[in-house]
């Protein structure tokens, strides 16, 4: 989750998110360089006393300010496409989970081995235990084994929703009648929060997502317990 007055990204919890962080650093540096250059030019133009009313063309600067943006765009596009294809690589998931968006909660189905399904509702503010996070905690978390490729199939039962967990670098729209697939690997154990990212009605802001990455034995214990409870 984000800490108070946080400005940047949350720490990455998956390899893809690490790549995205580094790409963002690269692209933002380019943005700062361009902005500094433009600011310098603006200040220079505004503070000069020189004038020339008879400039009609200049081939040299036209070439520079055509080539330079093209080069900058290529420098941005190459790492971007690299990550895009990296995200789409064939992976061999250890687990497939279905996340279904409802109004206004998520439901998760682990049906690889047994029939495990449960709903995940936000804990209302008045029911929070002291120290819990307002608008982020849920009654049931989506527990996954750490360092395992997870395939997640996302859809919706009524209107558009979107399943997003920023620290894992995952966001995928939940479209009714459509099955969207994405994958992630939780590279460290922990609890990772996200929120519904497509407007879906009155309680769109109140259907968060909590992913808990635990070692495999803990995951097995948890899934057994959940099956007993169901």
């Amino acid at each position: 989750m984000a800490h108070p007055s946080q400005l940047g990204f949350q720490d990455a919890a998956s390899p893809v998110m690490e790549e995205l962080l580094h790409f963002h650093d690269h692209a933002l540096m380019i943005v700062f360089l361009i902005s500094t250059l433009v600011l310098y030019i603006i200040v220079a133009m505004v503070t000069t006393k020189l004038t020339n009313k008879f400039i009609l063309d200049s081939q040299e600067i036209e070439i520079i300010w055509t080539l330079l943006p093209a080069i900058i765009l290529i420098l941005i596009a190459l790492p971007s496409l690299r990550i895009l294809y990296l995200m789409d690589e064939i992976n061999d998931p250890h687990l497939t989970i279905k996340a279904m968006g409802h109004r206004w909660y998520w439901s998760y189905e682990y049906t690889d081995y047994e029939d495990l399904g449960f709903d995940s509702y936000m804990i209302p503010t008045q029911d929070l235990a002291p120290g819990q996070f307002r608008l982020l905690e849920t009654d049931h978390r989506m527990v996954v084994p750490v360092e395992s490729p997870i395939r997640i199939l996302i859809s919706a039962e009524d209107v558009l929703h979107s399943w997003a967990v920023p620290s894992l670098g995952v966001k995928m729209d939940a479209v009714p009648g459509r099955l969207n697939q994405t994958a992630f690997i939780a590279s460290r154990p922990g609890v990772f929060y996200g929120q519904c990212s497509e407007i879906c009605g009155a309680n769109h802001s109140f259907m968060p997502i909590v992913v808990e990455a635990v070692p495999l034995e803990h995951f097995e214990n948890w899934s057994s317990l959940m099956l007993e409870d169901a």
């Binding site: 989750m1 800490h3 720490d11 009313k53 819990q132 996070f133 922990g190 609890v191």
Partner: protein, 166 residues
């Protein structure tokens, strides 16, 4: 040759050169009234400042056609003022406009502050209990226990051995 003509920049020169060019080149006709301006970068306006001359002005203009050494200083100044409204120092003189601008900015900032205060008193609902100091400290402890953002972000800045911020 076009560059040479264009760099000269003078419309009269341009038109003269075009006399010897085939007739598909057209003159552009400007039907606007000549304007007067006081501009530091374009020194000579299209018309003099005072173009309706009194009799005294007209006789001064006649005298201007003779040797200029015979003009007195006041007459030279009067002739200048006939043709131009302001002198260069007068054009470049600073105005007090910045005071109006800054005043306006501060006024609207103050007004915005007033609106924000009124909102926080009369519009906003009561704060959720998660903003109480006790809750916030419990929440902070829980965030550290859960190792939220342990790499560079939040928990990375806490020294777990010493129990204090790094």
């Amino acid at each position: 040759m076009m560059e040479w003509v264009v760099r000269g920049g003078d419309i009269c020169t341009l038109l003269n050169i075009f006399v010897s060019v085939p007739p598909e080149v057209s003159e552009s006709v400007d039907m606007s009234q000549p304007m007067y301006w006081d501009r530091v970068d374009i020194p000579l306006p299209d018309r003099p400042y005072k173009d309706v001359l009194t009799d005294a002005d007209k006789s001064l203009k006649q005298k201007e056609k003779g040797p200029w050494g015979q003009l007195t200083k006041e007459e030279k100044i009067a002739l200048y003022r006939l043709t131009f409204c302001k002198t260069y120092p007068e054009m470049k003189q600073q105005t007090a406009e910045w005071k109006t601008v800054m005043g306006g900015i501060f006024f609207f900032l103050g007004f915005t502050g007033l609106v924000i205060w009124w909102q926080s008193v009369y519009v906003y609902p009561p704060r959720p209990r998660t903003f109480d100091d006790e809750w916030k400290s419990q929440q902070l402890k829980r965030m550290l226990d859960m190792r939220i953002n342990p790499i560079q972000g939040f928990s990375a800045k806490w020294d777990y051995e010493k129990g204090q911020w790094k």
